[in-house]
């Protein structure tokens, strides 16, 4: 094989392809991440409908495929085939550009998300800054979409969205800074903005930052968790696209593929902000208790989790297969569902191979944590009414922002508590 492929596979290389400077492997990672995120969006689409439906005493999609499993695909085909309408009087250039900006902003963020110590496209030393910056570009797309539609509802949606995102970015940034501050609490006193560096700092300090200086880390995490829901325009902060008020908000005038790009961008943004939260506070790719439960036995035990998860999914699928109606009309669906279970078993078996098993460890834990966050998103949507705009602003500026500043200062004081104590001590003794 040519050198530009093999040299990254060297056993001694422990950096991401971007850092290593291997364009080939960076490209492979980009494709992997892009494909993976798209797949995750599709899964999320189905899961959201199903979970929400079951929360609301209904079944959700049941027709396309067994238990509606093929519904996202059917939807995708429908959206692609639909006419792409540009309203008359719209600023067509801006109108067509807007969904692309949202999509690019949503996906560029994945450049620095570390799915494992080496499983990232690249690692920047301003990683977290880059993430916040690029994800804040998404609002541009929303504003452009709302303005270019030349219609009132999208315009109001865009106005709401711009104000909302700018406001919550401030609180979000403060929460992030307090986590970054925690990375510098090592003997050398050097913090980092690098995503990988932040996770490694948590490993080095033997704790997830959510538990650091309890409850300070938790409050910072809470601020971020609220702000990130607002940042992604999800319930209860989904005012820019509040369907009962603004029909569909900023994407009212969009149709077909371009509309689906908005959806893709929104779900990609949900996953990316969840990954920031996980990286900063929940130990990133690390499995639970990486320091406490060490040793080959624990390693083995934890490494069985991916396979067990897929066995569990397979069991659920087979159970559903057995409960399918026995009528011949449902035969194809039953077979399909069984085949689905078979695929799960196959994946589980592959995950039992030791090399694969150890290889996917990091990615598995990262994805599992993301899944929890995505479930929370769905849960919020099923539970909360929508905030009103002024209340939203009040929460952002009068609750989260002071709280963020307070947490930041308290974290700084806690970090420097020995120095401060020494200083006071000396003052007293003078």
């Amino acid at each position: 094989m040519p050198g530009f492929i093999t040299n990254y596979l060297d056993k001694n290389v422990h950096v991401t392809p971007g850092q290593y400077g291997s364009p080939f492997w960076a490209l492979v990672y980009i494709l992997l991440v892009f494909g993976g995120v798209s797949l995750a969006v599709v899964c999320m689409n189905w899961l959201e409908r199903k979970i929400l439906a079951h929360m609301q005493v209904r079944l959700g999609p049941m027709r396309v495929g067994p238990h509606g499993l093929l519904q996202p695909i059917a939807d995708a085909i429908k959206l692609i085939l639909k006419e792409d309408i540009v309203p008359e009087g719209a600023d067509s250039f801006v109108f067509l550009l807007a969904p692309l900006i949202i999509l690019v902003a949503g996906f560029s963020v994945y450049c620095v998300i570390p799915f494992g110590p080496t499983h990232a496209i690249t690692d920047m030393n301003i990683g977290i800054l880059f993430m916040l910056g690029v994800s804040s570009l998404g609002v541009l797309g929303i504003v452009m979409a709302g303005w270019a539609s030349n219609s009132h509802y999208p315009l109001i949606g865009a106005l709401r969205s711009s104000a909302q995102m700018v406001s919550y970015e401030v609180a979000m940034g403060l929460a992030v800074i307090s986590a970054v501050l925690m990375t510098s609490l090592n003997p050398a006193g050097t913090g980092t903005l690098s995503m990988i560096g932040i996770v490694q700092a948590q490993y080095a300090q033997h704790t997830w930052f959510i538990f650091k200086f309890f409850p300070l880390g938790f409050i910072a995490f809470f601020i971020f968790a609220v702000a990130m829901v607002a940042e992604t325009n999800r319930a209860p902060f989904d005012l820019p696209e509040a369907e009962s008020e603004l029909t569909a908000g900023f994407h009212t005038e969009y149709s077909g593929l371009r509309w689906s790009l908005f959806m893709l961008g929104e779900y990609a943004a949900m996953i990316s902000v969840s990954s920031i939260a996980i990286t900063l506070w929940l130990g990133g790719w690390m499995r639970p208790f990486p320091n406490l439960l060490q040793g080959p036995t624990w390693d083995l035990a934890f490494s069985l989790f991916p396979a067990l998860t897929f066995f569990g999914l397979a069991a659920m699928t087979f159970y559903s297969t057995m409960r399918m109606p026995k009528h011949p009309y449902f035969r194809i669906q039953t077979i399909g569902l069984g085949a689905f279970g078979g695929v799960f078993v196959l994946i589980a078996l592959i995950l039992l191979i030791p090399r694969v098993r150890d290889g996917v460890q990091d990615v598995y834990w990262f994805v599992a944590k993301i899944a929890v966050f995505l479930y929370l998103y769905i849960w919020y949507r099923g539970t909360f009414p929508r905030y009103r705009f002024d209340q939203l602003m009040r929460v952002g500026w009068k609750v989260l922002l002071p709280l963020g500043i307070g947490v930041l200062m308290a974290t700084g004081i806690m970090g420097l508590r020995t120095e401060i104590w020494d200083f006071v001590h000396r003052l007293v003794h003078i």
């Binding site: 040299n7 422990h14 950096v15 850092q19 290593y20 400077g21 291997s22 600023d91 801006v94 110590p117 690692d123 920047m124 030393n125 301003i126 800054l129 880059f130 916040l132 910056g133 690029v134 804040s136 570009l137 609002v139 541009l140 504003v143 452009m144 709302g146 303005w147 315009l155 865009a158 106005l159 711009s162 104000a163 995102m165 700018v166 970015e169 940034g173 050097t190 980092t192 903005l193 690098s194 990988i196 560096g197 490694q200």
Partner: protein
Amino acid sequence: MCTGWYTSDMAPVATTFFFYFLSGLAILSGVLVITRKNPVHSALALILTLLSVAGLYLMLYAPFVAGVQIILYVGGIMVLFLFVIMLVNIERSEREKQFNQQWLPGILAACGLGLLFVLIYVKGKALFSQPVITMPETENTQRVGMMLYSNYMFPFEIASLLLLVAIIGAVVMAKKRI
């Protein structure tokens, strides 16, 4: 694990090309900002300018400044610009006469600026006598922090005070209506 940026022998790709590309983009979109009649288009062009300037910062091994540029200017300030622009009547402003018809002051200002550039070019060696320091990129952020809180502490605090005054002024002006 975060060993340096270029562990292999890769050199920066096509530096000159990117420099000219980005600066050309910045100038072009800068021109667009003042020539477009539609204020939203102007603002979008300004965003492009700011983004290409951020790219130039990256080429100068100043990723922190580039990141801050994107977050603050593109993600924050420009969004507010757009916010305000969308609130005012665009059709009306399109019909209005543009303000860039003042040729004489414009030429004078341009000449003054040109003179300044020439002066800097001529006197430059004397002003910046030290050789150019190329900082490793990994330390850029730390260095910026160090600089801000040691050498440039005073200007930094002055700037933040200024911003505070601006905020209070804005609040006062906004409150007056109510």
